[in-house]
């Protein structure tokens, strides 16, 4: 039985998933919320993005169950000796991807390569020659790579893609079958309805997205046991594995930092708007001070302080992973502490407006306490702003992480993240011949994540803020993607 480890960000992510589940349950029970979210559920672009986001979230969650594997008992140890655990903390994802994680090469190798990227002195038949050595794992099953490689890659790719298509087809039939059963139609009718887009929920767009993902996954699954699909980095680690590990970091930063802003923004925003006067002045002063400091500098100042604290108290953390994790956790907290001004300002304005409305006045006349009014009558009526800002902030924060990591105040250098990958790619792009695959992998995964979140967020905004509906691209024909403009220009690029 391995020993379970709960890192700070793990627990935060569990809580987050629990909160989202609670919100979904709550929204299903509330007619108005159900009506609002129907706008998102019926939006093809948002739902396709939702499929991608769900996959990313699944990967992030798999990567958030940590344990320390049990070591085999030492020979000669007593039968009742205390079990020994490995000093390395692994996640479920690490265990699932044990193959690529452990097949470390010496240094760079190209995607699907069989030979190392740089020459090395080797002993061949007793003589020293400089040549590209074979990789230890990539393409190791080939006897003569020069002649077999192309055929093998094509064969494996075709098999993988075929598997992906089969899985996708199963998905289509499965969804059609489930729909057919609930609506008591035939399977063929159901499939046809999906294909003709006559279903309420845009199943066709979602299934097409899922099919593309399935085919890509099938291709990767077929090739990954034999090759490094996206090559290896300077220390010989599999780049695709790193990119997949980076997803969790991005999700943690994006979601936890957003969550961390909420308590400050909600409490201060509503208090300022409700009490007005002195309270309002004090809170406005507080957030003007915070927002007047350039955010990169403010975050840098905080992170430097944390670094001193971590260096000073090494005894608090058992393993390197825990130390890196606490830094990630605190970074998210800092982004929250420094980033609540914008939302607080919006909430204050909304509360000022609500406070004058008749029902709030009536509640006051009935003698409902101030806290009661804020909790029961104001808070529920500003949640739509909270939801909109929360989803909009997510993608900006993911992009911001890369910038912060470059500045040197981002995640711990040992943590896999898109920022650290881009950072190393900077030097690789100036090599000759150029090492392009790290950048490509980071780019592909990051754009997919951020783009999905942007599309999803704009649909959420459109659903919650009716005024935004005027901004969508209007066309006579059914629109393949309803692009709504994000309300806030992402200030995060910092350029």
């Amino acid at each position: 039985m391995p020993k379970l480890v709960f890192l700070a960000t793990d627990i935060a992510l569990y809580v987050l998933v629990f909160v989202i589940a609670f919100y979904v349950w709550h929204a299903r029970r509330t007619p108005t919320l159900r009506q609002t979210w129907r706008g998102v559920l019926h939006d093809p672009a948002a739902m396709s993005a939702g499929v991608v986001l769900a996959i990313f979230l699944l990967i992030a969650m798999l990567d958030s169950f940590h344990f320390r594997p049990l070591l085999a008992p030492a020979s000669g140890a007593a039968a009742d000796a205390a079990p020994a655990y490995s000093t390395r903390t692994l996640s479920v994802l690490d265990a699932l991807l044990a193959g690529p994680r452990e097949s470390r090469e010496k240094t760079y190798s190209v995607p699907l390569g069989t030979h190392q990227f740089s020459k090395e002195s080797m002993l061949v038949d007793g003589k020293s020659v400089r040549d590209f050595p074979r990789l230890q794992f990539g393409g190791a099953h080939l006897k003569d790579p020069d002649s077999e490689w192309a055929g093998d890659v094509v064969r494996q790719s075709l098999m993988g893609v075929a598997g992906g298509i089969l899985a996708a087809a199963a998905l289509w039939v499965g969804v059609a079958f489930l729909r057919a059963r609930t609506s008591r139609a035939s399977l063929g009718d159901s499939l046809r309805a999906i294909w003709r887009r006559s279903t309420e929920v845009p199943w066709r767009a979602m299934l097409l997205t899922a099919s593309i993902v399935a085919i890509f996954v099938g291709w990767v699954v077929a090739l990954w046991p034999y090759y490094h699909v996206f090559g290896t980095d300077q220390t010989g680690n599999d780049v695709l594995f790193q990119a997949i590990k980076s997803i969790r970091t991005a999700v943690v930063i994006g979601s936890l930092a957003t969550i961390a802003t909420l308590p400050f923004a909600i409490v201060f925003g509503i208090l300022a708007g409700y009490y007005k006067g002195r309270t309002d002045d004090a809170i406005q002063y507080l957030y003007t001070v915070l927002s007047s400091i350039p955010s990169v500098l403010l975050i840098a100042a905080f992170v430097l302080m944390i670094q001193v604290f971590i260096d000073k108290n090494p005894q608090l953390f058992d393993t390197g992973l825990e130390r890196a994790d606490i830094r990630l956790f605190l970074l998210a907290a800092i982004l929250g502490i420094t980033g609540w001004a914008g939302l607080a300002r919006l909430l204050r304005a909304e509360t000022l407006k609500l406070g004058e409305l008749d029902y709030v006045q009536a509640a006051r006349a009935f003698g409902v306490s101030d806290t009661g009014i804020m909790r029961r009558h104001i808070l529920p009526n500003v949640t739509h702003i909270v939801v909109i800002v929360a989803v909009l902030d997510f993608s900006g924060l993911v992009l911001y992480e890369a910038v912060l990591s470059y500045v040197g105040v981002g995640v711990d250098p040992t943590t896999n993240s898109f920022g650290t990958m881009i950072n190393s790619a900077r030097n690789e792009m100036s090599r000759d011949p150029v090492v392009w695959w790290t950048l490509l992998a980071a780019f592909g995964f990051m754009v997919t994540l951020v783009l999905s979140m942007t599309l999803f967020a704009s649909a959420v905004r459109e659903a919650f803020d009716p005024r935004a509906r005027a901004f969508r691209v209007r066309r006579a024909k059914p629109v393949p993607a309803n692009l709504v403009v994000p309300a806030v220009i992402v200030p995060a690029a910092g350029l």
Partner: protein, 325 residues
Amino acid sequence: MINYIIRRIGYGILILIGVNLFTFALFFTVNTPDDMARMNIGGKRVTQDAIEKWKVERGYNKPLLWNAQKPGMEKVTDTIFFERSAQLFAFQFGSSDSGRDIGYELRQRVGPSIALAIPTFILGVFVVIVFSLLMVFFRSTYLEFWGVTFAVFLLSISGLFYIIVGQFLFSKVLKLVPISGFAGGWDLFVFLALPIVIGIVSRLGGEALFYRTMFLEEVGKDYVRTARSKGLSETVVLFRHVLRNALLPILTSTVAVLPLLFLGALIMESFFGIPGLGSYTIDAINAQDFAVVRSMVFVGSALYIVGLILTDISYTVADPRIRLS
């Protein structure tokens, strides 16, 4: 008006005091100068003597707020708070932890920062307005749809990609411009061309979408319908009527950015080796030079406050209906 501005400036100074106290608390009480010394000298086995020496050299050996051993006014003035924080208000930045004069460095570096920031800003506003007006001009067509898609895609790409790929493509493959560096005279254009273009492209997506909503909001208004019913062409309506009216909110939102241009583009400068304030700040963060970071925080927030005041004033200039009181 004058009264209002004076009040705003007073409030600004109040905020600066807040910023100052806040950074002081962050840098000196959360972590003592001893910790800073240990971090700067490096390593865990640092003798107390070395720490003391480091502190004396930089004046960090004094009491934080109140020096009881000194006579008279020096009780207040001979402290870390006064020397390091309060004097910032007189723009006396003191020397950095590595011993150089921060004020001198700032004066040297403002020039290159502005040389990069001003063209990026002006050309950027121009390009964004043209792009978003074209989207509005072709509204409800495929062109607009692809324009929006393109902008959303641009928005989803990290700015670092633009820089890395831009440097690779234009400097390494095409060899049009040098990879990085800075020089005066005519060479300035060669060195700044790429950073400016990248700076514009990386902001294009988000801002074009934002401007587009502004323009679309204006397009639905009555005066536009009147202009059309007069028989004006769509081009004239857009570029004469809509643009002018939508410019008000746009210009006022960009004025706030102006003073921050002095800080320069942090990332851009450091990637392209431009010796401006941005790269200075990043170097300081990497070298963990707290004195420089503190000064830059102060300068940054002072400029931000100037920006806020300028925004208020520009409102009245741009729209005479608004009176400040």
